[in-house]
Amino acid sequence: MNFSRYKREISAAGAFVAILIVLAIVAPSFFSAGNLRDLLINNAPTLLIAVGMTMVILVGEIDISVGSQFAVCSIAAGFLAKTGMPMPVLFLSIFLVGAMMGSLNGVLVGWLRLPSIIVTLAMLVLWRDALRWLTEGAWVQNLPENFQWFGLSQSGGELTIVAITLTIFVAFAWTLRNLVAGRKIYAVGSDAEAARLAGISGPTVVLSVFALMGALTGIAALMNAVRFSEIPGNSGVGLELKAIAAVVVGGAAITGGRGTLVGTLIGVALLGTIGTALTFLGINPFWEKAIQGAIILIALVSDVALGRLEKNGRSNIAGAAA
């Protein structure tokens, strides 16, 4: 195993472990089974979105519209559930609704070559305001009995959410690493021109990645919605930044071509734990945002520091020690 390849992931993991050690000493109750289970369930939707975001970032693009897409999918899920649609069909429908919105981004970015940050900025505003206009912020209430926890018991539902999330995560992680489809994403992100010459259609890869991003957002919205018996009209605000931050903290390069889903998992775990950790440590919640910002910046600094060491090590072995 070549550890130097996973340097960034290892440094993020180091930070995570450090937090866990502090927690183990100061607030051992953090590691109660109940708390770990809650953390897992609460961060499952974020993880799904971060998986999609990792691929988007790997091809060198970005998607800041996922928070608004999430809100649209949540409301759509509630509405579809009220028509009495069985759960598996609902799952598929939301997958398609999300994929549809993602494909719209993908077409504009991949085929028409528009800059992703602008396209998704437009969609961020567009979907959110369209939803507000139509629903006027109303909640979807009186959902059918079989909606919450997929009609199972609470623990059964929780298990299903975790199982679905982990299956998706493992499938994508394995595909990215081992299958042609996954390697194409890295190829396009590393050097679009070289990929083209190698016979990879960049636009199609970008389109598929955005479509998957949307579909994963849809599933994430559903995984989030089934935990409750009502669906609020304005969810997912700021979710895009959370996902991007997790991916970057997990070691992916925003310029594309570098990053792994294992890193993303660590990033989600790190940022998803901070809020809860602060409460357990008794630190005032006012500082939460500042700490999150600091973590992103520290990840950047460590990234650069590690990068420098590597460069020095290659050109001048003596210099690396200094």
Partner: protein
């Protein structure tokens, strides 16, 4: 996100006038702008007046300054997401220096500008020294700056009471009609224009944007250029914050939330390329006004404000698309090896298919959704009030009513009652307000109503100091002003429709909690956002009541929910584990209470009860299940109903100051004490009575 950039145009010496004036197809925007002005002069009341023109520019100044400096940043191929957060940090720094530090205003401003510069320098250092991507660096400082602002003020501090001289910077007029801040904004536009387009130093930023490596070889000090723009950006954000504070009359940590995205939208709409090397100051200014006029015009035409967001999004995609296509058609015959831009036939086919399908699905699902929601509401007709002309005075009174936030379920339920009353009275009701948490938006809406000309303005006030200035202005213009739900300064309004005082709410909440707990034990509070003014006021009274009446009870923690149900859920899970002795969790934001209840339910903590301030409908299942013991609220529909009735009576003169009561339709005679119309005491909803209410 790299892209090969083709030469802008053939290197011929002759350029048409169009190309010289609008190198990036800014003329599209000019046409949009003219179209907007034409349409809104017909549909909007008093849109095409000089007064409105000046108001629009006043509202554009803060975002305009940010956009102006964002232009050179985007030209170098960078981005700065931290400017909005920097405004928040600068505002609280200035406020605290002035109020708590005992520093004079000019010195406070100077230090604030320095803080802005320092923040910009932090961005610059990370970007140039560490060679980190600007997007990520400023994403980090976006959280960091806002976080520091919230941490410093504990979210609670709201600095106000600034001197009139300072406030005139943001609210005053020079020569009686030109807003003061234009004397900063217009020179700033000219200066940046001169700098970018007429100096070698400015032109060098384009070179940096085209190719950093190339410009370095050409002897341009790239790092120095980048340091310069990011520092300038921080400084400008601080300046924008100073103007913002003077404009609103208050400094809080939430200043400038979301401004970075509007600023970037303006710049990109103005033809700047996000990859760098392209963009003009003229384009940015046009882009800025295209957005601001759209918002203002829709408001004056009585159209829903959400349309502005939808149209801006569409406009953004269409302009870059047109730009893309026109560039592609120029570039193609020139160089065959040029980055290929072939859209194959089958792709076009699939493309159109997908777009049509997506549009159909979205339209279809939305239509169904709207229908189902409307049915649920018992077909309460929405009055978007698409008026055509200025209302004939004396016939039908126009009542403009503003909630704190349009999407909040609490206000949605108020609206129902207001619409019912308006229908009964035959009055025209304009219902508009902020969609986002942005204190500046309320002022903007009132300004638009003054311009439009309405009979009564009824406001649920978010920021007391900030909005009072515009309300006074409305009164001067002969518009009756009432406040409802939350009050402004007393002299800025005629009447307050008072459903409950903050003290009444705080004490009722505390008494309920004490009743449930039997007067002893630990409890926790989940609030809205940490900087929410109302909630902080209630918490103050809750704490006072706790100290004076319930010595055996202890408030262990206050956690934020940001008005988000899911966040409230998560925070409650944490609270239950960290503070296992908590017996009651009190939620003081409507969406938070169901989130808390769900968390308690899922944790199987039947020993913990929930109470708080919320709406009966969203809490009903939990109240019936016995998880929520009780919630405190008034009849929100009646509040809206009473407000419209009072406003209407004020407008037609049947109700005036000094009267002891006001007639309010089905509510009967309502008591008036001094300048307060009193709806009655807060009501407690519980298992027994919750079924009688539907809101």
């Amino acid at each position: 996100m790299e892209e090969v950039i083709s030469p802008e145009r053939p290197l011929s010496t002759e350029q048409s006038l169009r190309e010289r004036l609008f190198p990036n197809n800014e003329w599209i925007l000019l046409i949009v702008l003219i179209a907007e002005c034409l349409i809104f002069s017909v549909t909007g009341s008093n849109f095409a007046t000089s007064g409105n023109a000046f108001e629009i520019t006043r509202l554009a100044v803060e975002i305009g300054l940010l956009a102006l400096v964002m232009t050179p940043i985007i030209i170098t191929g960078g981005i700065d997401l931290s400017v909005g957060s920097m405004m928040g940090l600068s505002a609280v720094v200035m406020g605290s220096l002035w109020r708590d530090g005992g520093v004079s205003m000019p010195v406070a401003i100077a230090i604030t500008l320095f803080v802005g510069l320092a923040g910009g320098a932090l961005n610059a250092a990370m970007i140039t020294k560490l060679k980190a991507p600007p997007l990520i660096v400023t994403l980090g400082t976006f959280s960091l700056f806002r976080g520091i602002a919230e941490g410093l003020t504990r979210g609670i501090e709201n600095y106000s009471g600034f001197s009139p001289t300072f406030l005139s910077l943001g609210q005053g007029y020079v020569f009686g009609f030109i807003p003061t801040q234009l004397f900063i904004f217009v020179p700033a536009i000219i200066a940046v224009w001169w700098w970018l387009h007429r100096t070698a130093f400015g032109r060098s930023f384009y070179a940096v944007g085209f190719s950093q490596e190339g410009s370095r070889y050409a002897g341009i000090k790239v790092r120095r250029r980048l340091n310069f723009v990011y520092c300038l950006s921080g400084l400008t954000a601080a300046l924008a914050a100073v103007i913002y504070v003077a404009h609103l009359g208050q400094a809080k940590s939430d200043a400038g939330t979301g401004y970075e995205l509007t600023a970037i939208t303006a710049v990109v709409l103005g033809g700047a390329s996000i990859f760098g090397g392209r963009g003009t100051v003229l384009g940015t200014v046009l882009g800025l006004f295209a957005i601001v006029i759209l918002q203002n015009g829709l408001r004056l035409s009585g159209q829903p404000a959400e349309l502005a967001g939808i149209l801006t999004g569409v406009l953004l995609v269409v302009t870059i698309l047109l730009d893309r296509l026109s560039r592609a058609s120029v570039a193609k015959p020139k160089a065959a090896s040029e980055e290929e831009f072939e859209v194959k036939n089958w792709q076009v086919g699939v493309l159109s298919g997908v777009i049509v399908a997506a549009a159909l699905i979205v339209a279809g699902s939305n239509w169904l959704l709207v229908r189902s929601i409307k049915e649920e509401r018992g077909s309460a007709a929405p009055t978007a009030a698409a008026n055509t002309n200025s209302p004939a005075p004396g016939k039908k009174s126009v009542i403009a009513m503003m909630p704190k936030a349009k999407g909040d379920p609490y206000f949605i339920s108020c609206r129902k009652g207001a619409e019912e009353a308006a229908k009964e009275l035959g009055a025209e009701l304009l219902w508009d307000g902020p969609t986002d948490l942005d204190p500046a938006k309320q002022n903007e809406v009132v300004e638009a109503w003054i311009t439009r000309g309405v009979d009564v303005i009824a406001v649920s006030v978010e920021n007391k100091e900030g909005i009072s200035t515009v309300l006074r202005k409305a009164k001067e213009k002969g518009i009756k002003v009432v406040t409802w739900d939350a009050d402004a300064e007393k002299d800025a309004r005629d009447f307050l429709i008072n459903q409950a005082t903050p003290q009444g709410i705080g004490e009722t909440l505390m008494d309920e909690t004490a009743r449930i707990m039997g007067g002893k034990g630990e409890f926790a509070i989940i609030t809205a956002s940490l900087s929410a003014a109302n909630q902080n006021e209630w918490i103050k009274h809750i704490k006072q009541r706790l100290e004076s009446k319930y010595p055996e009870m202890k408030l262990v923690t206050i956690q934020p929910s940001d008005g988000d149900r899911d966040r409230a859920f998560q925070e409650t899970q944490n609270v239950l584990k960290v503070y296992p002795n908590v017996k009651v969790v009190m939620g003081i934001a409507a969406p938070a209470v169901p989130g808390i209840a769900e968390a308690v339910k899922q944790a199987n903590r039947s020993d913990v009860k929930v109470t708080g301030l919320s709406l009966p409908n969203m809490c009903k299942p939990y109240i019936k299940a016995g998880i929520i013991d009780s919630i405190v609220l008034w009849n929100t529909g009646d509040l809206g109903f009473l407000t419209v009735f009072t406003a209407n009576s004020l407008a037609n003169g049947t109700f005036k100051p000094g009267d002891k009561s006001v007639k309010a339709g089905r509510l009967g005679e309502i008591e008036v004490v001094g300048d307060e119309v009193r709806l009655g005491k807060p009501f407690i909803f519980n298992k027994e009575n919750v079924d009688q209410f539907d809101f």
